[in-house]
């Protein structure tokens, strides 16, 4: 903690400054009052500027005087104000979307280029409108599938839940919805994600140079922000798609003070199938839904309250007694406060829970019931101090209290019930951070910070000691220690320094570099190709060390074209990780008291180059991204202890997304994806034990071959409903249709190749037939249509 004093040094310097005054306030959307996150505030005369924070608040401290100040935001018309800054001034600004026809795609680029000027690198941002325009599987706009079109993001394959960022595993991504961690972002085993795009304002993916205020996962942060709800007028949006029917309502509660948004989605195939499928009338249930809601209340000019929540569930019941369900619930209460006009504080109280329930057995004599959950209570006070236009200090605390309940389970066999529950685990993760962003000169700026995280486990609990054995073989418990309630079982502490630097050659080009160290104390325990809803999160313990990661990245950013309509970036990164969790062959990960004996630990390394070009103006907009990458693991007990590529290692990852405005009513969009084949393990030989054909890899290697490459084209067309009635009056309600085709040329893209013996029962003494099967999850083109309305 001694580092902390270093951070007070600049503080002292800036306090010895001449007479200054502060301009501060909120930047919001004129049509609905939504905060404009990342709007820029710029003083052309002096070159000073700042960016509105996650709540739309900005604060700019300058020498006293009269200034022209320009407020701008992507897709909105600039506002230039003359401000007499002879004393501290509060100025809330509302910006108007720049074009009613093309507002959602065409991006005005008059503003100073955020990608060039911002110190943050390795970040990608998608707004809800862009996500809604991208072609999607079955026409369902999806946040997680959309970010897979970004550079540096890969996945183990179609239909798989989650995503991989710069060589990180699925469990190394932190996904937060209004600051609440979402522990499983999937509906229907991963085909869809849990976020309702109608309720989402924007999504930011941090892949590197992650600021000190974020932590807890090694690879990336996906920061999903909900809309606040229209504070000016009521509106409703809805639609009927192939999978979901959706309805969102939003509007003011107390004019100028309070607004809300409530959004719901539900799959409806079960409703349609009900008349034809007897079992659905007999108690079988098949559906998934989610509810997203947010309330915000302006207490006064200086204080705002936000309450947001999410609840969603997938339910698959084969009959009244048998089936499984899973879901997340989150709640966030935030209180923003502006103290003076340079200090912005926020306190968040957050709850998040993921749970699943499984039950089998048709009667009381024989059944199995299993519930599992992870619960996370978080307190997160934070403070930003806008010292002047060159200095900003932020600091905060983030404390998570976790309860892990891996199994509340009972089994009844022939009337006898056995409790097979596992102990709950109680953990506390506390992080302190402080970060200083400073403009060193007109060209150079820096942000440096330190996050210090402490992870503790508490009793009651039993801790097993395991024997040492050949790596890759199950370790057996040799003894155990019981701890009483409240006793500390384990403690880890990690300093996590973060540094970002930027050098701006001119307003059109800059170079950036960053270094980050991250610690991750929670581990997603999953040894399957794609993660599934039954995967459990396990905390670090005496036997599972925290995962540590270090990443360095460098990038070049520039704009091209007279209107700066092209934005280009090139980044390289190197990432090195320790204590990566892996599994012995035949590991038993579900309801296993001795789970820790089945885990292995190893090192990881990943490196790559990401190229990105975005065209922001004109009838044709979109982006192209290319990633050249390598991701490897080295685990004692796997692949003879040598480096091997991970399941999601893709050498070439090329993606293009394009939007084209055909005329006033028709627009088109397309996605193209090309991915190198992912690695897999092929056998060399076979042998027979007790009539069973066993595949064998003589060199005992892991991921020794690659399946064929993956490529796919998706298109969609959007038809806006007529904006005028037949009598020439403007329609109050608007609507649109989306027609899409996923996998247009019906390529049978491989997900995996698996080896098995032929289906027939082997006759004694006859040779067994071996077979290799290539599987495509979606082996054909998938058309879709959806109808959407707004009033």
């Amino acid at each position: 903690m001694r580092y902390i004093f270093l951070f007070f040094l600049p503080w002292a310097i800036v306090h010895a400054q001449p007479e200054r005054a502060t301009l501060s306030g909120y930047v919001r959307d004129a049509s609905n009052g939504e905060a404009l996150i990342g709007a820029t505030v710029f003083v052309p005369a002096s070159g000073a500027g700042t960016v509105a924070n996650a709540y739309g608040f900005y604060s700019l401290t300058l020498a006293r005087g009269i200034y022209q100040v320009r407020f701008s935001f992507v897709g909105y018309t600039d506002v230039v104000c003359e401000v007499d800054l002879s004393r501290n001034t509060r100025l809330d600004i509302e910006l108007t979307a720049s074009s009613t026809q093309l507002d959602e795609v065409v991006i005005s680029s008059k503003e100073e280029e955020a990608a060039i000027r911002s110190i943050q690198m390795s970040v990608n941002r998608l707004n809800a409108a862009t996500i809604a325009r991208m072609p999607a599987f079955l026409g369902e706009a999806d946040i997680i599938k959309s970010i897979q079109q970004l550079p540096g993001v890969s996945t183990v394959g179609e239909g798989a839940s989650g995503y991989n960022v710069r060589g990180g595993s699925v469990g190394q991504n932190l996904i937060v919805l209004d600051e609440a961690a979402v522990y499983n972002p999937s509906h229907l085993l991963g085909f869809f994600s849990v976020f309702n795009p109608d309720a989402i304002k924007d999504v930011q993916l941090y892949k590197g140079g992650i600021p000190a205020r974020y932590g807890g996962r090694l690879a990336s942060i996906l920061d999903v922000r909900m809309k606040e709800g229209n504070s000016k007028q009521f509106e409703a949006n809805g639609g009927i798609g192939t999978i979901f029917s959706r309805l969102t309502v939003e509007g003011p509660l107390v004019p100028g003070k309070a607004s809300f948004i409530l959004a719901a989605r539900r799959s409806y195939i079960d409703v349609l199938a009900r008349p034809f499928v007897d079992v659905l009338r007999d108690g079988a249930r098949l559906n998934f839904y989610d509810l997203t809601a947010k309330l915000n209340y302006r207490l006064n000019e200086h204080n705002n309250l936000f309450l947001s929540g999410y609840a969603g569930r997938d339910i698959f019941f084969f009959d009244r007694q048998q089936g499984f369900s899973w879901g997340n619930a989150t709640g966030t209460l935030r209180w923003n406060s502006i103290i003076g006009n340079r200090l912005f504080s926020n306190v968040s109280l957050i709850f998040s829970k993921y749970d699943y329930a499984l039950q089998f057995g048709e009667d009381e004599r024989d059944n199995f019931k299993w519930n599992s959950s992870v619960t996370d209570f978080t307190v997160k006070p934070s403070l930003s101090y806008f010292i002047n236009s060159q200095n900003e200090i932020s600091a905060g605390v983030e404390a998570h209290y976790y309860q892990f309940d891996p199994a509340r389970a009972t089994g009844t066999t022939n009337g006898e019930t056995v409790n097979i529950s596992l102990d709950r685990k109680y953990n506390l993760e506390t992080s302190f951070y402080v970060s200083h962003q400073l403009q060193v000169s007109r060209h150079t700026s820096a942000e440096y910070g330190l996050r210090y995280s402490i992870f503790q486990g508490f009793g009651p609990g039993r801790v097993y000691q395991y024997n040492d054995t050949i790596p890759g073989i199950r370790r057996q418990p040799v003894s155990f220690t019981d701890y009483a309630k409240g006793v500390e079982l384990v403690r880890y502490a990690t300093p996590e320094p973060r540094i970002s630097l930027k050098y701006e050659f001119n307003p059109r080009s800059s170079v950036k570099a960053s270094f980050m160290r991250m610690a991750q104390y929670l581990h997603l325990i999953s040894n399957t190709a794609a993660s599934n809803p039954l995967d459990v999160w396990a905390p670090s313990s005496q036997n599972i060390k925290p995962q540590l990661g270090t990443q360095v990245a460098m990038g070049y950013f520039r704009t091209l074209g007279q209107e700066k309509s092209y934005e280009l970036s090139a980044e390289v990164y190197y990432r090195s990780t320790r204590n990566q969790v892996d599994y012995i062959d035949g590991a038993d990960l579900l309801i296993n008291e001795y789970l820790e004996g089945d885990l292995l630990s190893g090192r990881g390394r990943a490196y790559g180059m990401e190229l990105y070009m975005q065209k922001k103006t004109g009838r044709l907009t979109g982006w192209v991204s290319y990633t050249l990458a390598r991701t490897e693991l080295k685990v004692n007990g796997i692949n003879n202890g040598s480096w091997y590529p991970t399941r999601f290692d893709q050498t070439h990852n090329f993606k293009a997304t394009a939007f084209y405005q055909i005329n006033n009513r028709w627009s088109a969009s397309a996605n193209f994806t090309f991915l190198s084949g992912t690695p897999t393990t092929f056998p060399t030989s076979r042998y027979v034990i007790q009539d069973i054909l066993i595949p064998h890899n003589a060199a005992n290697t892991r991921n020794n071959v690659r399946i064929p490459p993956f490529h796919r084209l998706d298109v969609s067309f959007r038809l806006e409903g007529r904006s005028q009635r037949k009598n020439g009056k403007t329609r109050k309600n608007t609507d649109y249709w989306v027609f899409g085709v996923y996998n247009l040329y019906a390529r049978k893209n491989p997900f995996s190749v698996y080896f098995s013996q032929a289906d027939d029962r082997a006759a004694s003494g006859a040779p067994l037939q071996s077979r290799a099967t290539q599987l495509s999850i979606i082996g054909t083109l998938v058309p879709s249509v959806s109808y959407n309305f707004h009033f």
Binding site: D585, G586, S685, Q690, S756
Partner: protein, 310 residues
């Protein structure tokens, strides 16, 4: 899981996964010795097979390893000599004298194989098995997707102390159910060590894991048993290492196919308890287990045999 569940789940996903048989070129590998030594205490000839691994796509009988010396010795001083069969190369047989059996519960057995100029050994302790008390038949009523299914169920109680492991083998009308999906294993009365079912009746999925789920040409599920069929079930005791081995075999060979492959684990080699006495020698594969066996059979004479038929 009831089969109707699978039918519905598949029906839900209108777009089906698509599978193609492929013939990738696989790297070549040196043949390795395979020891298939699963013997038991039934009063009948016992077989041990020695063979070589073969290229994965070579769909012939495995090349036999002839001319080996194969013995099993027990910690109780017993010794069993296996002689190569005259008719089946690579198959080594021990034929019991009348009343003689191979294996006593609790005894540690050592397999010694002298083959290809090297000596290989393996050890295992013979476990115990409970008797099978009865076999019953039950009906799963059909719905619009499947017909009524008649399932067999065996009843046995796992002994009180934990750590017993079993392989439950089933013969329908004299044919061994030997698909990878039909390997039925138990750790005590449950699926795994961690699941903690001990000293009780085997759990329902294991009791009912003696049913073949075959389909007709139209893909409709056939009733596992119909009146006139017979079922014969044997419990074979396993060492814990053998149980782990078979668990790995199931993971590697019982491939779900389709969407299930999303949740498949990586292909990896299964374990072996056969060791080369020369640590620098060739690496053998295979497994040695000595099983105690209990068995019971029943004929499904008529629908009157169905216990839950109202």
């Amino acid at each position: 899981m009831r089969i109707s569940a699978l039918v519905i789940l598949t029906g839900l996903l209108v777009i089906t996964a698509c599978e193609t048989v492929v013939f990738p070129t696989l790297p070549e590998a040196e043949p390795q010795l395979v020891v298939d030594a699963w013997v038991n205490n039934k009063e009948e000839p016992q077989f041990i097979k020695l063979s070589f691994t073969q290229p994965y796509f070579q769909n012939t009988l495995p090349p036999p390893v002839s001319g080996a010396t194969v013995t099993i010795s027990g910690s109780d001083g017993s010794l069993y000599l296996f002689a190569e069969s005259d008719t089946l190369a690579g198959t080594y047989v021990w034929v019991p004298a009348p009343g003689e059996r191979l294996g006593t519960t609790g005894v540690l057995y050592t397999l010694t194989v002298a083959a290809l100029g090297e000596i290989f050994t393996a050890t295992t302790r013979m476990g115990r098995v409970p008797t099978i008390d009865s076999i019953t038949f039950r009906v799963e009523e059909g719905n619009q997707f499947i017909d009524d299914l008649y399932l067999a169920e065996f009843w046995a109680i796992d002994p009180p102390e934990p750590g017993d492991t079993y392989w439950i083998k089933t013969w329908k009308n004299g044919t061994l159910l030997n698909k990878p999906s039909e390997i039925n294993l138990a750790y005590d009365a449950g699926f795994s060590r961690g699941s903690n079912f001990n000293g009780v009746n085997f759990i329902a999925p294991i009791r009912r894991g003696i049913n073949p789920f075959d389909q007709d040409e139209q893909g409709r599920f056939l009733s596992p048993y119909i009146p006139g069929d017979s079922v014969y079930v044997e419990l074979h005791s396993l060492s814990e290492a053998s149980f782990d081995f078979l668990t790995q075999v199931v993971l590697q060979t019982d491939r779900p196919g389709g969407f299930g492959e999303l949740f498949a684990i990586p292909l990896s080699n299964v374990s072996s308890n056969i060791q080369n006495t020369n640590p620098n020698g060739t690496k053998p594969l295979g497994f040695f287990n000595v099983a105690a066996v209990s068995g019971r059979g029943r004929k499904f004479a008529s629908l009157d045999d169905v216990s839950n038929l109202n």
